[in-house]
Symmetry: C2
Subunit: 624 residues, 2 copies
């Protein structure tokens, strides 16, 4: 391909509002153009790279035995109602507008844009898979998804329209699901390897998509919006929502001090006047303590349905969470603990309490709550393991502008369930891990938190969707049973952006060969010089003939300008054809990643480049 | 691929509501599944065929020098307002619903789903193409389109979500546009040839997409919803909207009798009582005439803006159309003639008149209108050429339950413009051609009307979009000029359906090799027989090794059942491996299109199949 016959609108200017390196470079190198917030056009160079990612994904899915199909974007709303996900998805689920506002009978009003395809694929399984003999099956597609992302950002990393590979597997046993899951997990590893992504697989919550086991594939980069917890020795990896660690007071995971560590021998509670010092940092500075010596008391308002005598009664209550002053509550873990503590309730909403509600419970303004006495009034007390393990602590006094010293867990507030209280008391891990926490494996290795981009996610769904949609097969005994399902997603645009985040320098992109839009750039330094252009064209044509993706920069521009563009678009191999070197009988072969230039005879250039491309391709090929 | 590892849900039953052969066969062969009205999932076999069509389209676009990119589905409404197409598209343009009804500030309320991409690509040209030196450029994509189709039907032939290849070219001169247009026209011919489609290219109106020159590519089949007019000797082809012919009274195209053919010598008008006979067939039977002896008088209500003294005044008026009783009005031609007649008006609406309006103009009930005297009251009289050429005719009497005989054009109603009337009088071609009309080329060849499926459309757009969006480039003199554009669309799903319409028999599909989901089916007749399965597997593996798309039917089913499925899914080449023939040392090679079976040694089968596939591929390859 000749540059002058192609369309590569590079730009020297750093775009406004773009901070992530991939975002800046994709705009500058002419890979993408924003059409609306979170909506991008892929320009020719960007689309070439995206198609290469797509090919790798497709090859690895085929190799893993998955079968490709293609599901529609437009879904009937009713199908999402079947699984209760219209509410669960909320504003993420985009809907069509009826032709006349208010005409809910119009087909548009009953149509949504697919943000994912569990419902549609489960309907297909229900229609066509009738016997255990047809299982397992893994069906996948590469298809555009639409989500009502509230705050699109970082270029193609978080958008409203994106390309996803989503696979869905159907099984007749957990054993088969586990095998299918492992096959997808392995395929994902190969995909990232082949795309040149430095990734980690981390344990993850399954989130709103449901189910009970999942892994996320993360690329570590400061442009990421997620955090992962990695142990230094590599024996543990989880995302922040999910990550756990040893308790500060124990070397055994999940070991919780069941008896108060020091119920006696401590001095009694002592009030300290702390006017206006509601925040942990302020009060610590004022009282001469470290945050690790404090207990943070967080109040949540819970609305729930309580089943009483066969009836459901709506009620509201308080859930109190205690974490150390140097820790943060992990709301996923907290919600899980709250559900476990109040297992008989159906949660309607669970949110940080309003100042008015906090004052009603504690009798004090925000910032002065403490655990003492709250278990007599709250509905659940959820105590982080590290709080339960404290010998003595400071906390709010439940009195505006006062704190207390000498708070002893187990003496001043219960850490064991007490049947005489209406309040459920649970000790659990309800905080985020922090840098330096110890790996839960017990290896003693410290955990480090790293920013990351999620590029894939594998889930064991179980029967969540097949139950909801009554999708069954007949087992060998002729009994109908719900499909056991897995689902597996990869964001293709994110792979491309993550590759750029991982591989760039000040001058531009350093594409991995496997997904580079072109594998070799032939740069004609003096295109007006007949011998230069003839030589460059011969090398270009010879490379194209050998199946190398080659771009010939035949633009009549200054050498410096063309070298800058070459660095920016980041083609891995480069052949520079100039008057001066030709006079010496050579052209210059170089790699984008290296300064070093090798003189090579023009007639040997194509063979050398083709052989390097072939060996890099073989390294990433599906057969290895 | 083994059938038992794949997903081909064939069915014996003819689906309800499916009439078109392609619709029935795509459902029965397990190629598609309907998700909602006009919305289909492509099952694995169907998606394989669709991807082959996609590959052919991509190869031919690349060969023609077009550059691939990928534009979003979500468009800002404002971009469609820039070109005035929100109104022009009407309910076809699908919009997102705001998260809260009535919240027009929500981004969703300002977002539409792309039914086509002229606006988005013109914005890209405006942003990046600044000089004539960058022209011409042809940018294309293969992307899903969304249209609010009111009556989806015939399976994937008319849907709300479909895959389209759309290309847009940008030029600095009409000459360059014509070259670019021709290159696309030729590429389209190659695409249809390679896909095995018997197509015709016909002249077409450009329709709401604008511009002034276009061709449609049509596949002739009774499942089509469009009509094309083809001359028997092949010298003329146009779609029905556009098709014209010689006048009945003349052998020269566009020759209109400027003087009444027989103004004298005819008896005077004579009223005939025709109670209740308002319809042409009825009154002809009653009066003993043929429809060709009648004049049909159609009244249209026009609302328009009239410019008077620099002001625009809204007014309403009548347009009267006259066609012979055996002809139908062509509303596209009529609208064009009305615009030409009333060139100073801006049309707001143009519709068949209401009974009340007809009675007001003619003084008679619907069915009894005639041309006599109407030019004194109507605003335009649009007379079909064949009416103007009549010597004498019958028509309504403008009196309920009465017709008149001896109506003489030019005597009883004006056929020449008359400055003393307020009414514009125009003689023009305002009817549909009918079977037997003569080709407008003057060759004397009769026209035949055929049903057809539109599978592609090429347009010369001119500057419609670049003007509206102020998209300009600098010409060699440094002057900004609007891009001259072309656009070129192909419906991929329709190509697939049209191929099935053209190639099937009672048993199922007869895929052209180029787009068949598999090229060869190896049918193991007795899969429980070890030697049969071993032989079938060896042949299958050898074919896969040679790059042939091969499917092995390894299902443990009756031979008849498997043969029926083989016919249904229509794989072009077949190798049948059975116990009986193996005992004779052979397997059977056959084609889906032929009854004939050739015995062949098992060890020769793969080489023979591979060589036939290779020769069919070469016939359709881009290089030929």
């Amino acid at each position: 391909m000749r540059w002058t016959n192609y369309f590569i609108p590079t730009s020297k200017e750093t775009p406004r509002d773009a901070t992530a390196a991939s975002h800046v470079l994709m705009l500058r190198a002419g890979l993408i153009r924003q059409l609306a917030a979170g909506v991008y056009s892929y320009l020719p160079l960007g689309y070439r790279a995206l198609r290469k990612v797509e090919r790798i994904v497709r090859e690895e899915m085929e190799r893993a035995g998955a079968i490709e199909l293609h599901l529609p974007v437009l879904h009937p709303l009713s199908m999402w109602e079947e699984t209760g996900r219209v509410e669960a998805m909320g504003d993420t689920l985009l809907r069509l507008r009826p032709a006349r506002d208010g005409d809910e009978g119009d087909w548009r009003a009953q149509t949504v844009l697919g943000p994912t395809h569990e419902e549609v694929i489960t309907e297909i399984a229900r229609a066509y898979l009738s016997s255990y003999k047809q299982l397992p099956v893994n069906l996948y597609q590469i298809q555009t998804k639409f989500r009502g992302e509230a705050r699109p950002k970082s270029g193609v990393l978080r958008t409203r329209e994106f390309l996803m590979k989503d696979a869905y597997s159907f099984h007749d046993s957990l054993e088969s699901l586990n095998q299918g899951y492992q096959a997808m997990y392995d395929a994902y590893c190969r995909i990232y390897d082949r795309c040149g992504l430095p990734y980690v697989a981390v344990e993850a919550e399954s989130g709103p998509i449901g189910g009970d086991a999942s892994h996320e594939f993360m690329v570590l980069t400061d442009a990421g919006e997620d955090f992962v917890a990695l142990s230094e020795n590599g024996d543990y990896a989880a995302n922040l929502e999910r990550a756990t660690c040893l308790t500060a007071g124990s070397v055994e995971d999940e070991t919780v001090p069941r008896t108060p560590p020091a119920a006696s021998g401590e001095p009694p509670l002592e009030e300290v006047h702390t006017p206006g010092h509601g925040r942990v940092e302020d009060v610590c500075a004022f009282m001469g303590l470290t945050p690790a010596q404090m207990i943070k008391t967080l109040i949540y308002d819970l609305k729930a349905l309580r089943r009483e005598g066969g009836k459901e009664i709506e009620w509201s209550g308080w859930v109190v969470a205690l974490v150390r002053g140097d820790h943060e509550v992990n709301e996923h873990k907290l919600l899980k603990a709250a559900r476990a503590a109040l297992f008989n309730e159906l949660f309607l909403s669970f949110e940080l309490a309003t100042p008015r509600s906090i004052e009603k419970l504690t009798g004090a303004a925000v910032g002065f709550a403490g655990p003492q006495g709250l278990s007599e009034r709250a509905d659940a007390l959820l105590i982080d393991r590290d709080v339960a393990a404290m010998r003595v602590a400071a906390s709010g006094a439940n009195k505006t502008d006062y704190h207390v010293k000498n708070v002893v867990p187990g003496r001043d507030f219960g850490i064991l369930p007490n049947p005489s209280f209406k309040c459920a008391v649970v000790v659990a891990d309800v905080r985020n891990v922090v840098d330096g926490d110890l790996s839960p494996t017990g290896s003693g290795s410290p955990i480090r938190l790293r920013k990351a981009i999620e590029v894939g996610h594998v889930f064991k769904l179980g029967t969540k969707y097949s139950d909801a949609m009554k999708a069954t097969f007949l087992d060998p005994q002729g009994k109908p049973r719900a499909f056991i399902m897995g689902c597996y997603g990869i964001g293709l645009n994110r792979i491309m952006a993550a590759a750029i985040e991982s591989h760039h320098d000040a001058g531009g992109i350093l594409w991995p060969m496997s997904i580079a839009p072109f594998e070799c750039l032939v740069l004609a330094l003096d295109p007006r010089d007949e011998q230069v252009m003839r030589t460059a064209t011969i090398i270009h044509d010879a490379l194209a003939e050998r199946g190398v993706d080659v771009l010939l920069d035949d633009r009549d521009e200054r050498a410096g300008f063309k070298f800058k563009d070459a660095d920016l678009i980041g083609v891995p191999l480069r052949v520079v054809v100039g008057k001066k070197s030709l006079a010496e009988g050579v052209v210059e072969l170089s790699q984008r990643r290296e300064e070093r230039k090798e003189p090579i005879k023009p007639e040997d250039a194509a063979a050398e480049v083709a052989s390097r491309v072939a060996s890099e391709r073989a390294a990433g090929a599906p057969g290895r």
